[in-house]
Symmetry: C2
Subunit: 147 residues, 2 copies
């Protein structure tokens, strides 16, 4: 079972955003994680569309978290950032080749299991990740990367 790299990077960008004071640039988060700017540009753009990041262009511009970290539920975030939402072939009618699709009870069982997965993650917010001792360690790791 795999979450998409897009979800992984989305979370990383939001963790960075919640630990940075003030606005940051794409190159900052790119350097902190060692991920190419091209990859992250798409992620930042999408997080802006979804209302997680406030992005401002031009002089004095940059990104910052658009809502309190305590209001960012991790399950909800991943539900929105998954660019491979079909857990199995039969969940995407366009590409499905399985002859049983539509008649197989596995589809409802899987839908229920995915709901349990996201609901479990929704117990955690971005604040749970970045506050306390864990958050301090992460902050030191990310902010110590030389520009």
């Amino acid at each position: 079972m795999k979450l998409s790299l897009f979800s992984d990077y989305s979370l990383r960008v939001l963790i960075y955003a919640s630990l940075r004071e003030g606005r940051f640039q794409l190159k900052d988060v790119s350097q902190a994680y060692g991920i190419s700017r091209n990859h992250l540009a798409q992620v930042v753009h999408r997080l802006g569309q979804l209302g997680y990041l406030e992005t401002r262009r031009g002089r004095g511009g940059g990104c910052r978290l658009a809502r309190p970290a305590g209001e960012v539920r991790i399950g909800r975030l991943f539900q929105q950032t998954e660019d491979q939402p079909a857990i199995m072939e039969c969940f995407d009618q366009k590409t499905n080749t399985c002859r049983m699709a539509g008649n197989c009870r596995i589809q409802s069982a899987l839908a229920q299991a995915m709901a349990a997965f996201y609901s479990s993650l929704d117990q955690y917010t971005l604040a749970d990740v970045v506050t306390g001792a864990h958050g301090e360690v992460i902050s030191r790791i990310l902010m110590s990367v030389p520009s």
Copy 2:
């Protein structure tokens, strides 16, 4: 969120096995689903190793379900057949590149969510998929494919 194709095919083979009377050959299940024999050979081999299928070589040989369908729990099955068990990069130390790995609380949150996912699926057995009206429809679909 995506389950591997290996898990998908594993389930399909077991559904077929539980609906077939007597032993069947690789070509039978390959024709029923329109999946290449090469792909399915690996799946059948692995399901044999895991004790889900009994496979016998030679004249009068073939495969059949090795345990009652009511004893095959879907969550357990997928846990065993997932060949991409790392839900995120940081779950595989060999390939991880994230600097936060080991210090990030997301890892335990994700482990908990995966447990909720598999536990939800464990409410269902293979028998729940193949018995009753749904099972009859699936059986008709699979067994009506011309050789």
